[in-house]
Each structure stands twice: as C-alpha cells, then as structure tokens.
C-alpha cells in the first residue's frame, strides 16, 4: 500500500507540465519512477478512476487528473460511485 506515492504521482502529473506530457506519451514510463504496488501502477496506467478512488486518492487530486483526460463530470461520478 503506497497511497502516498500514488497521490504524489497524480499530483505531479496534474501540476508539472513536463510530467504531464510524459504521462500522456507513456504512462508506464512515468509510473516507473514511483514506488507503487502492482495494483496501484496498473490502476494509474489504465486511469481506472473507480479503483484509484477506492484506494483512497483524494477527490481534489483525482477529479483534476480526470479533467486532464477530458472525463465528463457524469462519467467521473459514475466511476467513483460504482463501488461501496
């Protein structure tokens, strides 16, 4: 469980233009730099919002991250509400 590293990766992509561009080009190359579990790495690379949210990523990190990837509000909410 490395929720700190997971949130750090998302925050870096949100805030650092170079990191963002790199993530768009190759999510795997970027996530390799963070001490993530396999499940975390996989969820981040696939931008699996339901899993990322369930893992505990803060909404004010995850929603901006989803906006970068043009996810609508309705789709985002459907994803994070999907699990109990």
């Amino acid at each position: 469980m490395s929720i700190y590293a997971l949130q750090k990766a998302i925050r870096d992509v949100n805030r650092d233009p170079a990191k963002r561009a790199a993530f768009f080009e190759s999510p795997a190359a970027v996530t390799a730099h963070y001490a993530l579990s396999e499940a975390e790495r996989d969820a981040l690379q696939r931008r699996d919002y339901a899993t990322l949210y369930a893992m505990g990523v803060h909404g004010l990190l995850l929603r901006p991250f989803s906006i970068l990837h043009s996810v609508s509000e309705a789709d985002y909410l459907r994803a994070i509400r999907g699990r109990g």
Binding site: Y4, H58, L60, L61, L62, R63, I80
Partner: protein, 274 residues
Amino acid sequence: MALSFACALGHAPGIVAWREAAPAEQCERLYQAFGQLRTRLEAARLEALVLFTAEHWANFFLDHISPYCIGRAHEFAGPIEPWLKIDKATVKGAPDLAEAILTACHERDIEPGFSYEMHLDHGTMIPLHFLTPAMNLPIVPIVINTLAPPLPTPRRCFLLGHAVGEVVRSDARRIGVIATGGMSHDPGERNHGIIDEAFDRQFLDAMEHADTERLKNYTVAQLRAAGAGAVELLNWIALGGALQGARGEVLAYEPVVPWATGIGAMGFNVVSAS
C-alpha cells in the same frame, strides 16, 4: 481597537469561472452581497487584511502538512488556475503582522506553521477579486489544513482565531479579518452535487448569533458529513474566535446546484461589539 472589518464568504470557482451556468437570480443575489461587503470594506479604510482560507493542493502536499500555515511573504501571486477568469496579480504581504500573529500564537501555546512563499489559488483569489479588486491591500493568509486528515478541531481553530483577534485588536493599523470557503459541497467526491441546505442554514445561524459554544462544539465529522469541502467552515469558526462575540448578518445564502455548493456571504458588526 483595530479590528475594523470582518466578513465570511464562499470561494467556489464557479462564482467567476462558470458564472453563466448558475440561475441568474441566484448569481445576482450573491454578487450583490459581495458588492455590499466590498462597500463596507472600503468604508473601513483598511490597512491590512488577514484571511482564514483554504487551498487545494496548491502549495502543500503530503510530504509536509501543517494544521495551520501563516503566510509571511512580502508578496503573493495568484491565481494559479489559468481557467479561473481572474487576471494574474501580485498582492503585497504584511510580514510584520504575520510575525506578530505567530508570536502571539506561541505565547498562547499554539504553534502554527509558516511559509515565506505561498501561491494563491481560487480559495483566496476569488474573495480578493470581489473585496479588493485592485489587489492593493496587504494580506496575511492563514491556511487551515482542510485536505489531509487529521484536521484541526473546531475548538482549536476557534482558539487560533481568538489569538489572531487579540493581535489585530492591539495593532495600531486598521485591519480586516475574513473567512473564505464552504459551505456544503463535496468536490471530487461521491456526493458532488448534493447540497445540505439545512446544515448550511444552521451553521449560518450560529455565526449570526455569535453562538460560540455551538461553533466550538461542532466536530470535524459533523462538518465532513455536509461534504468534503464543508470542512472549510473551520475558517469561519476561526473567524468566530477572532470576532469575540461580534454578531453577524447573512447578506446572502444560495445553494447553487450548477456550482455544486452552498454559498454564504456574511458581514459582522465588529465596531459596535467592542
């Protein structure tokens, strides 16, 4: 006494960035209330402004979180959001006032963090945009941790506010104190779009009547139940501590569905209270 102005108001990005998304009459009532606050602020001829405010991962991250952080910079730049529809500006700081607040807090066994470089996001820039559009009033931002649990308790925020109020009252300058943020909203979370209007109105009632016991006895969990963003009402509770019994007046309250938040605007009668 130099507490010359006090108010509390929301800072939802939609107020500026998605103004047209809200029903026109709600928007108009809020803008009118913000205008009233600006008129009062200008009449108070302030020399400095202390803000209990929130930020949204703009400066601080989980590598180091302070329960409260006092901005000691000579100047602050914002907003960091290019989409906010507020021109980028540089606002002067008031480092001597920040230092006086830090010293007074330490003397009262409260040890806030401090920072010589803080970037302002919508949490501070929207209130400044409405209250001091010329961005010409020196500020001391006090950021309360509303992001990473555990959050400071309402009781503790009230004490912080009380210390700030003491400093402001003993300063020769004419100083305003404001709280930003809230009310019920759940940004990025499952209840996004749900606004607990009853909670908001009860909270406003406590602020209006300077019901300090009610304010201090809120729990973080009670605030959190009205949405992850409702914990920004810790800023309002800190203001309640600074007010030392001054009553307030709700100038507007609107649950704005397209902005997914309840927004309050209050002025406080600081002059007659002392």
